[in-house]
């Protein structure tokens, strides 16, 4: 009801405009042709299900949910390593709320907390810094996850810690980069994707240029999109228009937030503090070269991987779990062998079911009935 409303949010949730866009989208679709459009970002997946966007799309347009959920792609071994750090003498582990329920081979942060580890939830890495200041006798570790949207915040926090001379703060760095993951997806032989809805908030940092190879080398249109439902519908319309006109370009729907060149200051902060890792494991996608960041030697005193003798646990993904195929868009969440039976939001096997923006959890929580209803309407 919120009479005052939220600016830059509510305007993009208007039903009438959505109907107009849907009508336009319908004119762009060739009957019988299948359009596989991947939304890369888990935030988009969340919006699509939360607002029921699929209700507005013709059957020919199939949304494929991509790998852009940092919680979903973190391998179990890294979760186990983080729990190992949290259980060391004198450590306070700090983490975003998203990660608390993500299972490693030895349970989740919440389970470790129940066993006695001091694990605290933070909203910002700056909050971890405050905890470190307030507890000089403890070693405070920030569990850093996220794509390029979140990486600058971690980098700025390390710079701040260095400026303050804080000695009891460190980062367990799990930041990943989107472009290598997209390259890995584009290289897979069973790819059925005709265009991409680009990640809006990652692009505020890296800009739109880095996606050019997708349009030019792989011939797939790419539209950077905002996170409100009208943003996503408009991006879909822009993609379909490109496909209809035989174009494949990088376009920016989210011009109110995303500058074409990104945020140079944020990129500089990342580059100052971090460097690419030679390779990093992604849940479901395996090892991808240059796909993650680690702390540079210069800031080694803030690097939890150097401070602690981290066991570097490697855990194979559970064999029953098909998160990888879901993340590559090869199968729909419900086509996974364990979806909704052994793997549910209460007892997640794969990470796609843990995070509320994971493709499986989003489908399970929000999408089930929409599908049921569409199907019933179709059979009636």
């Amino acid at each position: 009801m919120a009479p005052e409303g939220m600016r830059f949010v509510d305007e993009y949730r208007d039903r009438e405009k959505a109907q107009a866009l849907a009508a336009n989208i319908a004119t762009l679709v060739e009957p019988g042709r299948r359009y596989g459009l991947m939304e890369i970002c888990g935030g988009h997946t969340h919006t699509i299900y939360k607002h029921g966007i699929e209700d507005y799309l013709p059957e020919e347009v199939q949304l494929v949910h991509g790998p852009g959920c940092p919680v979903c792609v973190i391998p179990m071994g890294r979760v186990d390593d983080a729990i190992w750090i949290a259980e060391q003498e004198g450590v306070i582990m700090t983490s975003f709320g998203d990660l608390l329920r993500v299972p490693g081979a030895r349970g989740s942060f919440l389970d470790a907390k129940a066993r006695g580890a001091d694990i605290q939830m933070v909203y910002s890495p700056l909050d971890s810094l405050r905890i470190a200041r307030n507890h000089p006798d403890r070693r405070v570790v920030f569990m850093a996850i996220g794509f390029e949207t979140t990486t600058p915040s971690t980098a700025m926090t390390v710079l701040r810690a260095a400026a303050e001379g804080l000695e009891n703060f460190s980062v367990f760095c799990n930041h990943v980069t989107i472009i290598p993951a997209l390259e890995a997806i584009l290289a897979s032989p069973d790819l059925h994707i005709d265009g991409f809805i680009g990640p809006g908030h990652v692009s505020t940092v890296i800009g739109c240029e880095p996606y050019r190879f997708i349009a030019e080398k792989h011939g797939r249109p790419f539209v950077v999109a905002g996170f409100e439902p009208l943003d996503i519908l408009q991006a879909i319309q822009m993609l379909l228009l490109q496909l209809r006109e035989g174009r494949s370009e990088v376009e920016n729907q989210y011009t109110r937030v995303v500058p074409w060149d990104g945020n140079q200051k944020a990129l500089q902060a990342i580059d100052e503090v971090m460097e690419p890792r030679p390779t990093f494991e992604w849940r479901g996608l395996g090892w991808i070269p240059d796909s993650a960041m680690r702390i540079r030697e210069k800031y080694a005193r803030f690097d939890a991987e150097r401070i602690f003798d981290v066991p570097a646990t490697r855990v194979a993904d559970p064999p029953a779990c098909q998160c990888g195929e879901v993340l590559r868009g090869t199968i729909k969440p419900w086509e996974c062998k364990v979806f909704g039976t052994a793997c549910t939001p209460e007892t997640p096997i794969g990470t796609c079911m843990v995070s509320s923006e994971g493709a499986c959890a989003a489908y399970y929580n929000f999408g089930r009935f929409t599908r049921l209803r569409v199907r019933q309407a179709g059979s009636a």
């Binding site: 009801m1 919120a2 009479p3 409303g5 939220m6 949010v9 949730r13 208007d14 039903r15 959505a18 109907q19 888990g42 935030g43 939360k50 607002h51 029921g52 966007i53 209700d55 959920c69 940092p70 919680v71 975003f96 709320g97 998203d98 329920r101 919440l110 389970d111 907390k113 129940a114 066993r115 605290q120 939830m121 933070v122 909203y123 909050d127 996220g146 979140t150 439902p229 729909k332 419900w334 086509e335 062998k337 979806f339 909704g340 039976t341 549910t344 939001p345 209460e346 509320s356 923006e357 399970y364 929580n365 929000f366 999408g367 089930r368 009935f369 929409t370 599908r371 049921l372 199907r375």
Partner: protein, 358 residues
Amino acid sequence: MTQRTEQEVLERIERIRRRRPRITDERITLSHGSGGKATHTLIDALFLEAFRNPFLEPLEDQAVFSVGAERLAFTTDTYVVSPLFFPGGDIGDLAVNGTVNDLAVSGARPLYLSAGFVLEEGFPIADLRRIVASMAKAAEDAGVQIVTGDTKVVQRGKADGCFVNTAGIGVLERPVRLSAAAARPGDAVIVSGPVGDHGITIMLARGELGIESDLRSDTAPLTVLIGLLLDAAPQTRFVRDATRGGVATICNELALASGVAVVLDEQSIPVRPEVRGASEILGIDPLYVACEGRFVAVVAGDEAEAAVAALRTHPQGAEAAVIGRIADDPPGLVLVTTGFGGMRIIDMLVGDPLPRIC
């Protein structure tokens, strides 16, 4: 492996959802106290299994039974809120109002309360004095008396300052039989005021999130408001205060117990801008956030208008609204139609609502 169709998968999920819950955890985690699925599993699979009897079985917020000619309501609740003092209240008035409300939602007039304290060694007497004073004031406001009590002190570190337990007895003077199993298609769902004020106030008062607002807890006794409701809508089926797990959890309990669909209209659910703003920052849904002075009621469709009009005559009910309706299909599910024109499922919460960044 044979190819499963989407329909088979969805039907299987619904069957599994209805199955008796089993405890798979080895230890208690905070999720077991969040009021969501883990709490329900613990209650169904452990407590109900051991204590099973006809009074407990409906799992309402209170038991209703007859003693002689009187129908009595009986309930208990334990309060462990942190911080103990927060904008709009403290653990003391919370402990009185919460138990008063658990009685009032059965249609009873709350009469007598007990008060049990678990105090941590070193807890300031001045704080205890403050808590007790606000309990006395809340009891007076709610028209109940605290007639018995207990005090225990535990070693430093074995409790978080002060925990309070209250139990309460009330008498049912109206011939109502309110129940989560009584909703039927065509009924209307009402909420008595803006949702989420208390939960967001507490979350912000902990100071960990660095967010400030002018929000205050909505903690208040609901006896008078529920009286107005029952006078205006004598066929009221069900009333429950929207505490842990929020409006979403109550609607799920209702849908399962009555075997109906609850269809909410997102745009008609009152949410204060500050609650919405904080929820957007934290990435949580106000429908899952606790209130301590709001109820959800199910009334006959043709009495809904009168019910809302009556509630709005009282300051506490000024923003009361019809927020949805009961339908027959699909049974056991809560759906919400969005302002955008789509529809989604509102499931029971898995754990505490956790702030998210993505």
